[in-house]
């Protein structure tokens, strides 16, 4: 393979560029139709209208299946181009390119034959049917592109892993792999965070994660990607090489699976695209083809990938355990999400797997996970001290028995536990900072600290949050959990594409008073009713009001909630993202 001449390689580079350029033109053309309100295009007609603000006309491009898939293809072609310009002339580049070209080819065939966004009407409709109101939100404008970027970046890591299987992993290939793995993980995490923030502020259900099938399905590649990124750390010494390759392949396959589930509509969800069986069949076959090809390749090369295996109780051993726990979480999410399909096929009956399934199984595993990576911070604990290990296991067992005996709620125990680990880690980081004047691997410490902080915030949110349903007339007030809520007034306002009822509330908590408004909107086209939640955030807790229905006597039903830890969740997630970004950049010295 390495004997490919320079001439061929440079011709290949030009073709990659040409592919990217033509796709850019193609996307630009579709975008132009949206901006010019050309409703003779079915896709434009279905997702836009003349009343739509320009900002949302742009985002309407990726608001439904056809356009969003086209955008994904554009990103794939773009990242292929970037990969080519960053690491040009490497031995493995032609194989990486060929793999990506295969993926790109199948995606394009899929686009052209099942989801053509350029279909037109014979007659020109006067106006479109408007963009789904739930999608008319700045966060949801950026969420899908970021998500698709995350997916396609994992296609690049996949292609690099495939190349490595053919001609071996050299230093430059690892460098490229780590860069792309870091960037993909960052992008996918950012996308999930954006979706979560959108769900909290726009859906108005007072939650940030609902274990909705489509949310879960994004979590699958994310979990595999997390394990993959970690398995890359020690790959320099060829430890865990085959393990890393296997994870790299799985992550990419799971991104196709995610596309399949969302775009075929086999699961009911708030996020599903309109379903079309032919799309499902195509994506499923694509998944099957890539899965079989890459797995057979993996096993046929497994002798070639012979790698070192870590020693018992070494750092690397803990990492393997960590990966195993991550994959167990993946299995839980996978089973919980797809089991309804199994019952549907075999029993002809739809079934719901509720949030309690996921949370009751995943919470203990997350606690194990953070314990494992915290222990890793203290190398002396691991050195030849099997007695300590047994002591540790014994202590944990004792604590579990006591907890069971005292019947303390599992949630609050989790909270104390996470707080304990959080303080130990913080203490360790500060000691290191004072004695050595620096934290040895800052991004790693920060990253893991923010995961612990995130877990803490999530458990606190479940443990303390409370809510109240009440009906209020304008001018009335109600007391709840040391706060007084007052409905000041209710107004009606009109906007360009919707009318809205605005309820103004004031919340008195001790000395501080804050105002918020909660809305109920009726969109002019289609008459869809949406709620705009009113939220006041502080670092500790959020006050959250959803405006419900009007009663005949002029009062309104409201749902008033006090949600703890929401700000902490966002802050820790952003810290996590920053640490990954810093780690990725630092490693490459850009």
């Amino acid at each position: 393979m390495a004997s490919l001449s320079k001439k061929h390689a440079s011709f290949g580079n030009k073709l990659v560029l040409a592919n990217f350029a033509t796709l850019l033109i193609c996307c630009g053309y579709l975008m132009l139709q949206f901006l010019e309100d050309n409703f003779s295009f079915t896709y434009v007609f279905e997702n836009s209208s003349t009343l739509l603000p320009t900002f949302y006309k742009i985002s309407a491009f990726w608001s439904a299946h056809e356009g969003s898939f086209l955008l994904m293809i554009l990103f794939l072609s773009g990242s292929m181009f970037v990969n080519n310009s960053f690491f040009s002339g490497q031995d493995w580049m032609p194989i990486s390119n060929a793999t990506l070209a295969f993926i790109l080819f199948f995606y394009l065939v899929f686009q052209i034959f099942t989801s053509n966004p350029f279909l037109t009407f014979d007659v020109l409709p006067s106006n479109g049917t408007d963009l789904n109101p739930l999608l008319q939100d700045p966060l949801l404008v950026i969420h899908p592109p970021v998500l698709f970027a995350g997916y396609v970046f994992y296609a690049v890591t996949f292609s690099l892993v495939i190349a490595g299987m053919f001609i071996g992993f050299d230093k430059k290939l690892f460098q490229s792999l780590k860069l792309w793995a870091g960037v993909s993980w960052f992008t996918l995490t950012f996308a999930i965070l954006l979706g979560s923030i959108w769900a909290y502020y726009e859906l108005g259900w007072g939650g940030y994660w609902f274990w909705d099938p489509v949310e879960n399905v994004v979590l699958l590649p994310w979990l595999a990607g997390t394990a993959f990124t970690h398995s890359l750390i020690f790959s320099k010494n060829k430890i865990l090489l085959s393990w890393m390759v296997f994870l790299g392949i799985s992550t990419f396959l799971l991104t196709i699976l995610a596309s399949f589930v969302v775009r075929s509509g086999i699961l009911n969800s708030v996020h599903s695209f309109a379903s079309d069986p032919s799309r499902g069949v195509f994506l499923l076959s694509l998944f099957g083809v890539f899965a079989f090809a890459s797995l057979v390749l993996f096993f046929s090369k497994s002798v070639f990938l012979q790698s070192e295996w870590p020693k018992l109780l070494s750092k690397q051993y803990l990492l393997v355990l960590n990966n195993v726990v991550l994959l167990a979480i993946l299995l839980i999410v996978f089973l919980g999400t797809l089991y309804p399909i199994v019952t549907e096929v075999f029993y002809g009956q739809k079934l719901s797997i509720g949030p309690n399934y996921f949370s009751s199984l995943i919470t203990p595993l997350v606690l194990i996970l953070i314990t494992l990576f915290s222990v890793e911070q203290f190398p002396t604990l691991l050195k030849n001290n099997k007695r300590n290990l047994f002591l540790g296991v014994f202590l944990i067992a004792l604590v579990v028995i006591i907890i069971d005996f005292l019947k303390i709620s599992a949630l609050s125990v989790g909270l104390y536990f996470v707080a304990l680990i959080l303080s130990i880690l913080l203490l360790k980081a500060s000691v290191e900072l004072i004695t050595k004047r620096q934290i040895s691997i800052a991004h790693k410490v920060l990253g893991h600290l923010s995961v612990v902080l995130l877990t803490f915030a999530v458990i606190a949110n479940h443990e303390f949050s409370e809510s109240l349903d009440v009906r209020l007339k304008p001018g009335e007030e109600v007391e709840f959990s040391n706060t007084v809520v007052r409905l000041d007034s209710v107004d009606v306002e009109g906007e360009m594409n919707f009318d809205t009822v605005v309820a103004n509330f004031s919340i008195q908590s001790g000395e501080t008073q804050s105002n918020l408004k909660s809305e109920k909107r009726v969109y002019k086209i289609g008459g869809v009713i949406t709620s705009e939640t009113g939220i006041v955030s502080t670092i500790q807790k959020d006050y959250h009001i959803v405006l419900g229905d009007r009663f005949q006597d002029g009062s309104w039903s409201i749902r008033y909630s006090i949600n703890y830890g929401i700000m902490l969740i966002w802050i820790s997630s952003i810290l996590l993202l920053l640490s990954m970004l810093y780690g990725t950049i630092r490693r490459h010295g850009y």
């Binding site: 069986p277 069949v281 096993f299 002809g348 739809k350």
Partner: protein, 171 residues
Amino acid sequence: MATRYFLVLILALLVMMLSIFSLSLVQTDELQTIKTQEGKKLIISEKIYDLDGNPIPFKSLTEGKVLLNVWASWCITCLVEHPFLKSITESKDVKLIGINYKDQSFNALNYLDKNGNPYEFSIFDLSGDISLKLGVTGAPETFLVIDGEIVSHRIGEVNLEVWNEKFAPYF
């Protein structure tokens, strides 16, 4: 040797997964996620009134073939199926009775004035209580009641296709 077992295991799992997904894709008949009320008796324990406030004897719903249609003036899909309901009552001998769901009576009367009234009368259900006990999840929904027993129940819009499948065999 171990890797070979691993390969076989993974491929087997993969094949299983693919076949389950394919089976789910070829399953053509759309599964009802929410149970319909077919086979149950029509039970209304409250006193019922029409839109003008006249009391209605419960017996008028349980004698012979009655098509009950849940509608509201704020419901967009109801407006979509309205012309079809009209055409059905004009062309066939159908006794169509409305259940006006969570609506102001003047809004409801306005709606009928504007779009025509295919209903013999409409039961006024401001609170939605009557409908709730019937197992209605929203508007529009349509029940076919024969001698007090619900024989067919459609959740969502009724059009020609749905009519032919769910209701036409009884007329």
